[in-house]
Amino acid sequence: MTGRFSAWRAVWLLLGGCYFLVPLVATAEFSLRAGGGRYDLSAYAFVLRDPRFLESFRLSLVLALETIAVALVLLLPTVYWVHLRLARLRPLVEFVSVLPFVVPPIVLVVGLLNLYRGAPELLVGSPHFLVTGYVILALPYVYRALDAGLRAIDVHTLTEAAQSLGAGWLTTMARVILPNLQGAVLSGAFLTLAIVMGEFTLANVMLFSTFSVYINYIGETQATPAAALTLASFAVTWVAMAGILVVGRQLGGRQAQIGGAR
């Protein structure tokens, strides 16, 4: 029984492993092709020489950091307060937090353009306007991460203890609650990083040259550098997931790992 069972298990997991690995191996092989059956690093050299690579990568990274900052400033007080005082409001707050699932990114961008097309160029003409939508895309994941983090600690006792020692709300938040939520905050941040670094829909429609838009642009004309960039993008995803794993180990519990820009 056990023997047969193990064989069955191994076959499935091996199959899954192949499905996961084959496209990556193929991408690596493709990125090294130099024509005529030869291989070299010219695709990587091309990418590194192209100033747009660094520009778009840096833009996406900055947007990711901004999204993380806005999402945390917005959600930390909300989730904390819902746990501490507004239990009655929890169903409504949670309902709103999953609404981004109902509005696909391509629909969200239609709505954002409808509403803000006439806004000052300073606001809408800058790629940083993307952050408004990215925060919405990240909202369900960051919310869930923070919610899980707050569930794991005794918010009431910690808050009372802090305040009976004379701490104000800001001090309580910054020096008591936040340090206890480190794992949750970081895993939400890493997931947001993965989402924003891969996001294509909003940026492409609004015509901003983020990392994904740049990869697509290169892919339209040059196949091998696009494969090299694909590997770079994969590496970014790994870094984000490894980050979640490391902070998750401290956290102990389950952590959010689902996100992605399709």
Partner: protein, 302 residues
Amino acid sequence: MAQPAPLAGRAVGAAPGGLRTRRPPVLDLLPVVPYFAYTLAFLLLPAATVLVGAFFTQDGQFTLAHLAALLEGQHLQAYVNSLQLSAATAVAGGALGGLMAYAAVSPGAPRWIRPTLTTFAGVAANFAGVPLAFAFIATLGTVGLLTRLLQALGVDLYGAGFTLFSFAGLALTYTYFQIPLMILVIAPALDGLRVEWQEAAASLGATGVQFWRYVGLPVLAPSVLGAMVLLFCNAFAAYATPYALTSGVVNLVTTQIGNVLQGNVLTDPHLGHALALGMIAVIAVAMAGYALLQRRAARWMR
């Protein structure tokens, strides 16, 4: 944040009302105001403009013509394609991912398998969009590694009529993020399937097949179906992958909305709103179904 105020008494959460007498309730709501204001400004109102816009013409006249247009020609075809693609990859990804998750979670599995699988699943589920499309072109494109390997073995994929830049190719590519998503979503539900049940069934003389037929599958069904609904929505909303892979060869709702937005086609922008309204309607129905299934599934979750 409000001004510093001492918290009164113990058990603030356990005894609601104790505090509300001391502070005006409006002040209590203050910390969550930014949250609602933000989602209103950047999610709810934008979505509302889409829903309302579907019912009006360019010059502000009420009309049902845009909605009617959804049932015609290429618009209807886009919905049919999107629904079929999402359903097919949800079922295929759900079945494969479910079995893989079970192989890793079921009793007797080595302890290291589960965290390894969920880690890889986390990476694969997040590796999507444009890079995923290029990874598949490098694998199964006309000069992809797998295409050439199979050619060397005498199997000519493209000669046999296969092309990556088609419905089948898209389905294959989507499965790459659908399987790991299923693994992540279903693993906790599989934990709810207790070893004791299997032992109890066996001690009553049930075969493995009987156990699954009368215990395992009925218990898991709501979770599995719910997870597949999530996978469906996930595929239905995908834009970057089909855009980069087929650049519009396969007519999908998301890419059609994108085309209207970018002015690639000479259509009324309000038609784009109607297309978007249809998407929201489909996902809203699916999510309502998901909520119902979750409620049933929760019975067996610890």
